[in-house]
């Protein structure tokens, strides 16, 4: 840990209790001063930018172990750091899946070895994500796993889901559901709407998400166990969560940057880069998601960063796997798509996800003396063009290639160490 | 072919064209003693009206002998389709089997000979004529293939870049070198 101090000078500090223009000094892994005219060994002028706690992604596919040709924990961590993230929750759909202490440890240790951000393993709800046998929640919880999900698959069996909630509740962990009634989405490629029907492509109807969401909200009501809903994509889902929260149920929800920015019309050219699960929806859904994000119905933005090797995306639309990159463009896409106050951006990209992930003892903290130095420095005004060739991810499947976006991450500090400076990863 | 924006010279007038058609009709009758085997085939699209006029002239001169009239579109037989787009004109219409017929192929202008070569190939797909004769209103020279006309309205010496326009109202040559 560096004993030399670093000062971020002239930025606007965003904290839960308000924004203030102040210098921030970091030394030995913690913030040791916040105030005017600070000096240190290294001074970085960040006038015009914001300083906030580093972002936390609830939904990252790092692909390791199993699909290292698409991403590794190291390359994914680097992409995360470039996106301003200091912690990512690694989704368990690896091969082998994260349903055992051994795999969970492996993921965590690889993350520590990369040292670019904290890689927080999630666990499976069911063994091998097969939807039949519960995963060992307690032993995984002892390893620090706080989020359990079968992401990629929804847990279809209502009885199993009920038992999972009942079993997990006393352990203080959160189950996270990928809402998709699979019988309604057999062969589905994209949102069921005007587009898919004229393109002659099997549709993924909104009801397939909303039915499971509704079922699970009722299971939460029954069991009292908390539940998090992954990548909600429809207007109906926003409404269901809004009502559940009004009823005081312990539910939280996330939305991805792409579901806030992109709609199903983009698939007209049959480009698999726009294929994702749940699929890109309509403008009306986007509007409802934005409203939900701004009014607090939706708690967090999560990237669903899903790298795929080029050759797997170079297939016809129905054969290509769903998923798109997200970590390195998240802030810019959210800032471009949603007219959100910078403070709400920090809330949905750092404070809330850190709480949901159960890591708010070290991430999503205030910028204050004594706090761990997990920091992002960014702005909402820089205009830049996304290029897939400049990404740190091992894959290139960004849907934003060539698009102009607004807002940029300049520096990321992880445990007091500058890991990204001027947008460039330092290791 | 446009002659609108180039200065053009009238080589033949409307009456000269009519006279030439009548003369060629006479020559066809003279050369083909058995008119019943003759078919007149105009090349789409510049030769078709001349072919029609030739048929009428033959009917007039012989006092009622009507020879079959056809039209051939050579666009799919051209040897330069890799060089420039093929433009279809009007479909080929050959009213009789050409086997053992004497075909008089009619075009407005004979230049490189490539269109005639294509037409000869096209005609073969309608049967094997006993003979093919070639009638043109204008022979402007510059042949690139060993092809020679049997009946000519007028021989006109031209520059390769000149444009020759033939209509029932006359024959006109416009020459680029004269343009300012």
């Amino acid at each position: 840990m560096s004993k030399k101090s670093i000062v971020f000078r002239g930025g606007t500090v965003i904290n839960p209790d308000g924004n203030v223009v102040a210098d921030v000094r970091v030394s030995q892994g913690v913030i040791d001063a916040v105030g005017p005219s600070l000096d240190g060994d290294t001074v970085i002028d960040i006038t015009g930018s914001y300083v906030s706690s580093g972002f936390v992604d609830l939904h990252t596919h790092l692909r390791e172990p199993g699909k290292e040709e698409a991403e590794t924990i190291e390359t994914g961590s680097r992409a995360a750091a470039r996106g301003g993230y200091t912690a990512v929750v690694a989704m368990p759909n690896t091969d082998p899946a994260q349903d055992s202490v051994m795999v969970v440890r492996f993921v965590r240790e690889r993350g520590e070895a990369a040292g670019l951000c904290e890689v927080v393993p999630s666990g499976c709800i069911t063994m091998g994500r097969n939807g039949t046998q519960l995963a060992p929640y307690e032993s995984l919880a002892k390893e620090g796993v706080r989020i359990f999900t079968d992401d990629g698959n929804g847990v279809q069996d209502p009885l199993l889901m009920r038992r999972a909630l009942e079993y997990a509740a006393p352990l203080g962990v959160t189950l996270a559901q990928h809402c998709e009634v699979s019988r309604l989405t057999e062969g589905a490629v994209m949102h069921e709407g005007a587009c898919c029907s004229s393109m002659g492509v099997p549709g993924w109807p909104s009801i397939a998400e909303e039915l499971m969401l509704h079922r699970d909200i009722e299971l939460v009501r029954l069991t009292g166990a908390p539940m998090h809903f992954l990548h909600l994509s429809t207007a109906g889902s926003v409404e269901l969560v809004r009502r559940a929260k009004a009823d005081g149920l312990p539910v939280t929800a996330e939305v991805t940057p792409h579901h806030l920015a992109l709609n199903d019309e983009l698939l007209r050219g049959f480009n698999p880069l726009f294929k994702v699960n749940p699929p890109l929806r309509t403008i009306a859904d986007i509007d409802a998601l934005k409203t939900g994000l701004l009014d607090g119905t939706i708690d967090a933005v999560a990237t669903d960063h899903a790298p795929h090797a080029s050759h797997t995306k170079e297939q016809p639309l129905d054969a290509a796997p769903p998923g798109m990159l997200g970590l390195e463009t998240a802030l810019a896409v959210v800032n471009t798509a949603v007219n959100a106050d910078p403070r709400r951006i920090v809330e949905v990209m750092s404070w809330s996800p850190a709480r949901i992930a159960g890591i708010n003892d070290r991430h999503g903290r205030p910028i204050a003396v004594g706090e761990p130095a997990n920091i992002a420095v960014w702005d909402t005004t820089s205009v830049w063009t996304v290029s897939r060739d400049e990404l740190a991810s091992r894959s290139k499947n960004t849907p934003y290639h060539g698009m102009e976006v607004r807002g940029k991450v300049h520096h990321t500090m992880f445990r007091g160490q500058l890991v990204v400076q001027e947008g460039k990863a330092l290791k | 072919m446009s002659i609108v924006d180039k200065p053009s010279t009238e080589i033949l007038g409307a009456e000269d064209v009519s006279r030439a058609i009548t003369r060629i009709a006479h020559e066809i009758i003279e050369r083909n003693t058995d008119l019943s085997s003759v078919v007149i085939v105009g090349m789409q699209t510049g030769g078709t009206w001349i072919a029609e006029r030739l048929c009428e002239a033959i009917e007039r001169i012989t006092g009622g002998t009507r020879v079959p009239l056809g039209a051939v579109d050579i666009s799919m037989y051209r040897d330069d389709y890799s060089l420039r787009p093929i433009v279809l004109s009007a479909p080929t219409e050959i009213p009789v089997d050409l086997t053992e017929r004497r075909v008089v192929l009619v075009d407005d202008v004979l230049f490189t000979g490539r269109t005639v070569r294509a037409a000869l190939e096209a005609l073969n797909d309608y049967g094997r004529p006993r003979a093919v004769q070639l009638a043109v209103m204008v022979d402007r020279g510059h042949r690139e293939l060993p092809i020679r006309p049997d009946y000519v309205g007028k021989n006109i010496p031209t520059h390769p870049t000149d444009e020759v326009a033939v209509g029932s109202n006359g024959v006109f040559v416009s020459s680029e070198s004269e343009a300012v």
Partner: protein, 316 residues
Amino acid sequence: MKHLLSTHSLSVDDIVGILDVADHMTEINSRSVAKVPALRGKTVASVFFEDSTRTRLSFESAAKRLSADTMTFSASSSSVNKGESLRDTIETLSAMGVDAFVVRHKSSGAPQAITQWTNASIINAGDGWHQHPTQALLDAYTITRSFGTKDSLKGRSIAIVGDIKHSRVARSDIDVFTRLGAQVVLVAPPTLLPHDIATWGVTTCGSIDEVVGSVDVLYMLRMQFERMDSGVIPGLGEYTARFALTPTRAAKLSPHALVMHPGPMNRGIEMVVDPSDLPGSRILQQVTNGVSVRMAVLFTILGSGATATLQQGVDA
């Protein structure tokens, strides 16, 4: 025109132009020597990732009548079974020197994807449920030439009967027919209609009996057996009762009405009548016209270059 991927990329003028070129091809096909040298030296590869002998033969005979060289690639007898990717297949064939690929694929949009991996022209010979543009062109050709005038689709009423939802033929036909001025009515059970049919500019009805007496064209689609197995419709008997063309229904057709089918027919399912007993049947004419129209498409794409325009010729 570089590719033919979808009817949507054709303007009405393009469609009319191709049908006019098809008249030339029909004339060529009527000759004793039905072959012209127009595409000599060009290579047309038919690349079929899904079986369709009739469409493949129609394209290949079209190519041969224009003197193009043909190559055939079919997935069942190829390295696709050994896991070769679509991209590698296309790049490999391209390297042999192909001017146009005629592509049939089970995935909607596959022909479009292929355009990224070759400089050759791509002609869509049917992709998934998406499009089958030459079928729509040959259908429009068959109807207009049957009714005699080039704009004879205008104001005509055309019923398309059967599985619309899973049909690339229906998607292509509806687009071409409606843009050429026809009124299209879709006759199908609701589970075989695309769910947002309201935006398609067509009407729908639930039984063939409601339309059979009034339409100018009755277009029957092939009913796939597997739809019944997967619970999309109740069963064969009910389908036949509501949607099949039976002798009784055929007797109600207007004297001038045409009966069409893209083939292959399911006798006893949607066709409970022998088409050879129907004076209005154009089913074999569709097959004949298919060759002319595919010649016209190949010629338009390969023979006349990007700037081709159809000169309105003087009638001979």
